[in-house]
């Protein structure tokens, strides 16, 4: 891992309690209009217990998964979205024609075109922060410390407490983002 490589995000559902701090942190960090953010917390209910909640009410932060096979990239007619060699989906606003096909294509509702810019907005893993040695805004401020970082090989986890975990948790994901729970 070179020091320019971006780390992707791992979410510990056992520690996410749905406070939505990540949403506000993201909104402020990226200068989005109040109420908009590249991460949003959804609730999931089920017959207790379910992953993330012994009582059957879990919270799931949803944001760009940096999919293995990203639908947004395929849908983009102008090549403004690209999955890099490091597995990270990036937007190139210069090439974007503002058609909105990416927003329709994203199966997870994680990407949208803010009216202010007309260009696709998605979680960029706070690249500007990471490249200057800082944690992504959501990761740093998450009160439950449910958000952490992992490297692209998905082998190391940092930024999220793990010493206290009695045993490794189950992991699941559709791309570079990993969700875990016990």
């Amino acid at each position: 891992m070179t020091d320019k490589a971006l780390l992707t995000i791992v979410v510990d559902l056992d520690r996410c309690w749905g406070c939505r701090t990540c949403e506000v942190a993201c909104s402020l960090e990226h200068g989005l209009a109040p109420g908009l953010s590249f991460i949003a917390v959804e609730q999931n209910r089920g017959r207790a217990p379910i992953p993330g909640s012994p009582q059957g009410k879990s919270f799931v932060p949803v944001f760009c998964q940096h999919c293995d096979d990203p639908a947004c990239v395929s849908a983009c007619p102008s090549g403004a979205l690209d999955k890099g060699a490091d597995g990270i989906v990036r937007a190139n606003p210069e090439a974007c024609i503002g058609c909105g096909a990416c927003e329709d294509a994203c199966p997870y509702g994680a990407l949208f075109v803010p009216p202010e810019t007309g260009k696709p907005g998605l979680c960029d893993l706070c690249a500007a922060r990471q490249l200057t040695g800082r944690l992504p805004a959501c990761v740093q401020h998450c009160p439950g410390r449910a958000l952490g970082l992992k490297d692209i090989e998905s082998v190391a986890v940092s930024g999220i407490r793990s010493e206290t975990e009695p045993e490794p948790k189950s992991e699941w994901g559709v791309g570079r983002t990993v969700y875990k729970a016990r």
Partner: protein, 793 residues
């Protein structure tokens, strides 16, 4: 629902399914029971691993330098937690651009909740008050016409305030002037000091009897301590979160709780709603709102009956155990179930879990808001005491300061300036000794009685009031009556940051600075058990000033200047003097530290009359209050258990709703019109009390006043998620938006308080009854009706 939201919700469901398929199952009791206690030194366990905080801080500073920003360490005061943070200020023009958590903070480890993150708006919100204002018209305070203001200088404003209240004191006595305030903001006790120095017995706040005072009275009479309920989370094996939702309202506490849970501690949450914290619980006890004392006493009885208590501690360090046992012996888990709605087997299981391990109780304001507030708190303290979880690792502990002087003493607030004759003039003094007399943290008025007095002029007229840092027209219960009272005042000065509904009623409005513009020494159990932290001013907005400075200037005009501090830093130097540090030196140091010490009371005794933990309280007995928490009376309880109101209990959610609908349509209020149990206990992470509704970053996330309603009940009422409903009681009503939750009991609704306008739920709360001894306005276990209304109403 927009397409994006729908897709996100579907993805969230697939995450849960995906994890379940990989073997994740949610935590189960068997797992936690078998988990062993982690060994290792407690300091290591206290700090969850993060990337090195100092390195992250250095990175932030380096980035800031490259952007032409300077980084000022301070701490938040968007709530009482006071999280340490970094303020990023542009060097060229001094504008604050950004606020982040301080990653080097040993207390927060860099986290910061939305209120702190979005606080830049406190500085630059266009509605911030920047100059003192004088009312030009209309003369009638409660007039519907828009208020006209003129800007005046600070000298004019303070001369007028001082001149008015000195005039009233001269002509009508000091008692004709009242000093009112809101939640603690770091200067509260300086304000209390001003009230007492001025000589009026009339001083109070919207909270107090409904917030913290019941807990503090409990700590004092039970343990002889100022504050003895901090939790030693790093060493605990069981956490009983009682009626509190730290995930939303005290996030750094929530993180400590999650850490403890990951180490294998059990989490029991008592809450009528499946709160964010309860969602993580091993045991969730869904009690009927207001049944707290009965539930605690029921758990106590299990512990006593099964002899699970700490027999050595009870023998050596408690008094009144036999009396307690005699009082609660009839409270079987089955009777407790009838009284509280919590299934008998869960009552037993929770009691056993709590008694089996080093365990702590994490409680907050909800226990202060029951109909027998002090007794609810006492029942919980007794639970903690007889299980030996007092002053012990993993239990509830007393916190002290780090050497600095406390403002929270009767000496600091000059309480003895109000003599016995004057005290008789304090509304509630005869009836509520625990609030108005010497056992109270700040001896003060019973505020419902006070507002009745202001409104009626009996037994004597209150002519003038100063209201500092309080949106009184919204934050007191019975808002209608409070506004009638305010309408009767001959003079009102309000000190605030915004033109609130209360400020609009004033003759003079003083612009207060926000916490970002102030220095402060914060030594609060709410921040940390082991640290004192500091705030430093990062900006100046208009002519707004710190309340400490305003109070100092006002005191000078009242001839009391020698008792106050003209420059707030003088106050902080004074408070820090015993540590040998000036405020400036303390800022350099960032924080003061002293480790938690266990076992002091077991060595030196408790500072109660008996020297022991008083299960039977001699101090309460002397004040005419119940020496042992009573809860629901035995006869009434047995009647209930016998099934006298079985018919009512067997009604389904829809029956409740249909009945409610019919009663509402008939338009004739009767008992049947109010079928719902009701509380105003819900809170949001985006707001505190009445604050932050003007902040676009926060209001966008929760734009409307919410009321939580069971989804089937709502269906019966024809109400969908997000629709407007009227919550009504005999006292009044509020318009709120239904938030549907399947886990809320069918006959319960819970409102989020703090909204101005028609969504102010305090319009629906009357003053029918108050807690014995302390006069709490109950906000749990109330009754209301709800009905759908159309949005255009």
């Amino acid at each position: 629902m927009d397409a994006g939201k729908e897709k996100r919700a579907a993805f969230a469901a697939s995450v849960i399914q995906g994890l379940a398929a990989r073997g994740a199952a949610g935590r189960r009791m068997e797992e936690t029971r078998s988990a062993g206690i982690n060994q290792g030194d407690s300091e290591a366990r206290r700090s969850a691993p993060r990337p090195d905080g100092q390195a992250l801080l250095a990175a932030s500073q380096a980035w800031a330098r490259s952007e032409g920003l300077e980084v000022i360490p301070s701490c938040c005061f968007s709530c009482n937690t006071a999280c340490e943070l970094l303020v990023f200020r542009r060097k060229s023009d001094g504008r604050v651009l950004k606020i982040e958590g301080d990653p080097s903070s040993p207390v927060t480890k860099g986290v910061l909740c939305p209120k702190g993150l979005a606080a830049v708006d406190l500085l630059y919100n266009p509605e911030r008050l920047k100059k003192p204002l004088r009312r030009v018209g209309p003369k009638v305070r409660n007039s519907a016409d828009p208020v006209r203001w003129e800007e005046i200088s600070w000298d004019e404003a303070l001369d007028e305030v001082a001149g008015k209240i000195l005039g009233f004191r001269e002509r009508e006595g000091a008692r004709s002037v009242a000093f009112l305030e809101g939640t603690r903001r770091g200067w509260s006790r300086v304000y209390s000091r001003l009230a007492n120095a001025f000589g009026t017995p009339n001083h109070g706040a919207a909270g107090w009897a409904q917030c913290l005072w019941p807990r503090l009275v409990d700590c004092k009479v039970t343990f002889g301590a100022q504050y003895s309920e901090a939790c030693d989370f790093p060493n605990t094996r069981c956490i009983l979160v009682w009626g509190s939702n730290p995930a939303s309202t005290w996030p750094i506490l929530g993180a400590d709780i999650m850490d403890a849970v990951e180490r294998g501690a059990k989490l029991i949450v008592v809450d009528p709603r499946l709160s964010e914290t309860a969602a993580k619980a091993d045991l969730w006890l869904r009690l009927k709102p207001g049944a707290d004392t009965d539930l605690a006493l029921g758990m106590l009885n299990v512990i006593v009956t099964e002899k699970l208590y700490d027999q050595d501690f009870v023998r050596d360090w408690t008094s009144g155990f036999e009396a307690l046992v005699g009082d609660i012996g009839w409270r079987s888990p089955e009777i407790t179930q009838e009284l509280t709605g919590v299934p008998a087997d869960l009552v037993t299981e929770a009691a056993r879990l709590f008694a089996a391990a080093p365990a702590c109780i994490s409680r907050c304001v909800s226990v202060d808001q029951t109909a027998d507030s002090v007794q609810t708190c006492r029942a919980l303290s007794i639970l903690s005491a007889i299980t030996g979880n007092v002053d012990a690792p993993g239990g509830n502990v007393a916190v002290s300061l780090r050497g600095e002087k406390s403002q929270n003493t009767h000496e600091f607030i000059l309480a003895d300036r109000i003599g016995p004759e004057s005290l008789k003039d304090r509304s509630g003094y005869d009836t509520y000794p625990l609030l108005c007399g010497p056992l109270s943290p700040v001896p003060s008025n019973h505020m419902p009685s006070f507002w009745e007095q202001v409104a009626s002029g009996k037994p004597y007229r209150i002519k003038a009031a100063l209201i500092f840092g309080s949106n009184a027209a919204v934050s007191y219960t019975n808002s209608k009556r409070v506004r009638e009272g305010i309408g009767e005042l001959e003079f009102l000065a309000v000190c605030d940051q915004f033109m609130t509904e209360t400020a609009k009623l004033a003759d003079i409005v003083l612009p207060a600075s926000s916490w970002l513009e102030r220095d402060n020494v914060i030594s609060s159990f709410q921040t940390a058990n082991e640290y004192t932290v500091f705030q430093q001013s990062c900006a100046k907005i208009g002519e707004s000033r710190s309340d400490v400075a305003i109070i100092g200037d006002l005191a000078e005009r009242l001839g009391l200047g020698d008792l106050f501090w003209k420059d707030p830093r003088d106050l902080y130097d004074y408070l820090l003097a015993p540590t040998g540090l000036s405020f400036g030196q303390a800022l350099e140091k960032r924080r003061l530290y002293a480790p938690l010490v266990f076992g002091t009371s077991r060595k030196n005794g408790f500072k109660t009359p008996s020297g022991k933990v008083e299960l039977y309280s001699s101090l309460l007995e002397a004040e005419g209050a119940d020496p042992i928490p009573g809860g629901t009376g035995k006869e009434e309880a047995i009647k209930k258990a016998a099934g006298d109101d079985r018919a009512a209990k067997d009604r389904t959610a829809k029956d409740w709703a249909v009945e409610n609908l019919a009663a509402g349509a008939a338009g004739e209020p009767s008992l049947e019109s109010y079928p719902f149990a009701f509380s105003t206990g819900a809170r949001s992470i985006f707001f505190r009390h009445t604050e932050n509704r003007r902040n676009p970053w926060l209001i966008a996330r929760e734009p409307r006043p919410l009321v939580y309603v069971n989804d089937e009940t709502a269906e019966g009422l024809g109400v969908s998620d997000g629709e407007l409903v009227e919550v009504f009681t005999p006292a009044g009503s509020a318009l709120m938006y239904a938030k549907l939750e399947p886990e809320v009991a069918p006959d319960f609704v819970q409102a989020v308080p703090g909204w101005e306008g028609k969504g102010n739920i305090n319009f629906a709360l009357g003053w029918d009854k108050f807690a014995d001894g302390i006069g709490t306005v109950p906000m749990r276990g109330l009754r209301c009706g709800i009905r759908k209304v159309s949005d255009d109403r």
